[in-house]
C-alpha cells in the first residue's frame, strides 16, 4: 500500500511562538514528507509492499524500518499539539501519572531529563506496557516503542531539526516550550 502524508491537525502558525511556522514547514512539509516518499519507494517489490505501518515497525530493518518508524513517530508527534491545549491531564491518566511519578511536575522533570540526555538524534516517550504500567523511555534515531510492544502515549522529537531554527543548541528551552502546546486531551485519548 502507498502511504500519504497526513495534514497537520492545526494551522502552520498555530503553535507560535513556542514552535514556529518555519520549523513546522520544514519539519512536516520536508522531513515528514521525505520519510513518507522514501518509505513508498523502498517497499516496492518487498514483503512490506502491502504491509501496514505497525507491521513495518515491528518487522522491517534498515531503510524501510527507519522511514516507516519516522512516518509513525512524526504523525504521532504532530497530533498531540494544539493552539488551545488542555494543559494538564485529568481523570484516570492523571491518577496513573501521580501513581507512577508522584506528581505531574515530577513526571515532567523525569521526561525533560530523558529528552535532554538522549545523545544525538532520537525521541523521548511516555509509554504504557501490556499491564498498563507507565514508564519513560528514550529511543535513538527512528527508534519506536511499538517495536518493543509498548503503547506510546506522548513523545518529544529531539532530532535537532525539531528545534534548531527556533532554539539552536538550547534543547531544554525547546522541551520547556513543547509542554505549552501539549494537548493532554489527545494523550488521554491514547491512554
Amino acid at each position: 500500500m502507498s502511504f500519504t502524508l497526513p495534514a497537520l491537525p492545526f494551522a502552520i502558525d498555530a503553535l507560535e511562538p513556542f514552535i514556529s511556522a518555519r520549523t513546522l514547514e520544514f519539519h512536516h512539509g520536508k522531513h515528514h514528507q521525505a520519510y513518507v516518499t522514501n518509505l513508498n519507494n523502498l517497499i516496492v517489490g518487498t514483503e512490506f509492499e502491502n504491509a501496514d505501518l505497525e507491521t513495518i515497525i515491528k518487522k522491517a530493518e534498515g531503510g524501510i524500518f527507519n522511514n516507516g518508524a519516522q512516518v509513525f513517530n512524526h504523525t504521532f508527534y504532530f497530533e498531540q499539539f494544539s493552539a488551545t491545549p488542555a494543559t494538564e491531564p485529568s481523570g484516570a491518566l492523571k491518577a496513573a501519572i501521580e501513581n507512577t511519578f508522584g506528581t505531574l511536575d515530577a513526571f515532567k522533570e523525569a521526561f525533560n531529563k530523558a529528552a535532554a540526555t538522549q545523545f544525538g538524534s532520537g525521541w523521548a516517550w511516555l509509554v504504557q506496557d501490556a499491564v498498563g504500567k507507565l514508564s519513560i523511555v528514550q529511543t535513538s534515531n527512528a527508534g519506536c516503542p511499538v517495536r518493543d510492544n509498548l503503547t506510546p502515549l506522548l513523545t518529544c522529537d529531539v532530532w535537532e531539526h525539531a528545534y534548531y531554527l527556533d532554539k539552536q543548541n538550547l534543547r531544554p528551552a525547546y522541551v520547556a516550550d513543547f509542554w505549552k502546546v501539549m494537548d493532554w486531551k489527545t494523550i488521554e485519548g491514547r491512554f
Partner: protein, 199 residues
C-alpha cells in the same frame, strides 16, 4: 590537565558563503564548548585524567558512555575546524593526490564515495576519510564516534571528516544535507589533510 577549547583558526565568517558565520559561532562556541566542558567534568578524578585524547579514544570501550560521547565530540570538532580553511586548493595535490587516485581511482570517485557516506548516515554522525597504512578508505560513524575508537567498525587515523549532525548545517541548509556536503568541498583545507596523512 583539562582539555582546552581552541580558538577557531579563522574568523566565524571566513567560510562564507559555504558555511555561514552564525552556524560557525554556535557550532564552536556552544556545541564544541559543551563537549569540551562535559569531557573535562567526566574525566575529573578518574585514572584517565591527563591522558592524551588519542589514548582515551583508543581505549574508549572501557570508558563510560559520557566520555565516549564528549571525548569524540571534543576530538572530532578540533579536526573539523582544522581541515577547513578559506581559499584553499580546490583539490588534493602532490602525494595526497597520488594516494587518493591509488585508493579510489580518481578524485571524482573519492568525492562520490565520500558524499554517499555523508548522505546515507542516518541521524547524527560523521563521514570520514581514514588512513590505513599507506592507503585511504571512507567510513561513517554514528553520533560522535570516530575511527580512532577501538569500537569503530573501520579503524584508522581520520584525515578528513564532515560533520553531518543537523546542527552543522540546519540554519543555512535546513533539510538539504546534500547541498551542505557539496558546499563543504569548497572549504576543505587539503594542506592540512596532507599534513595529517603524512603525520
Amino acid at each position: 590537565m583539562a582539555f582546552v577549547l581552541k580558538q577557531l583558526p579563522y574568523a566565524f565568517n571566513a567560510l562564507e558563503p559555504y558555511i555561514d558565520a552564525q552556524t560557525m559561532e554556535i557550532h564552536h562556541d556552544k556545541h564544541h564548548a559543551a563537549y569540551t566542558n562535559n569531557l573535562n567534568a567526566a574525566l575529573q578524578g578518574t585514572a584517565s585524567e591527563g591522558q592524551p585524547i588519542e589514548e582515551i579514544l583508543a581505549n574508549i570501550s572501557a570508558q563510560p558512555v559520557v566520555i565516549r560521547n564528549n571525548g569524540g565530540g571534543f576530538y572530532n570538532h578540533n579536526l573539523f575546524w582544522e581541515i577547513m580553511a578559506p581559499g584553499g586548493a580546490k583539490q588534493p595535490e602532490g602525494d595526497l593526490k597520488k594516494v587518493i587516485d591509488a585508493s579510489f581511482g580518481s578524485y571524482q570517485n573519492f568525492k562520490e564515495a565520500f558524499t554517499k557516506a555523508a548522505l546515507t548516515r542516518f541521524g547524527s554522525g560523521w563521514a570520514w576519510l581514514v588512513k590505513q597504512g599507506d592507503s585511504l578508505v571512507i567510513s561513517s560513524t554514528p553520533n560522535q564516534d570516530n575511527p580512532l575508537m577501538d569500537l569503530a567498525e573501520v579503524k584508522g587515523v581520520p584525515v578528513l571528516g564532515v560533520d553531518v549532525w543537523e546542527h552543522a548545517y540546519y540554519l543555512k541548509y535546513q533539510n538539504r544535507r546534500p547541498d551542505y556536503v557539496e558546499a563543504f568541498y569548497n572549504v576543505v583545507n587539503w594542506d592540512e589533510v596532507t599534513r595529517r596523512f603524512k603525520g
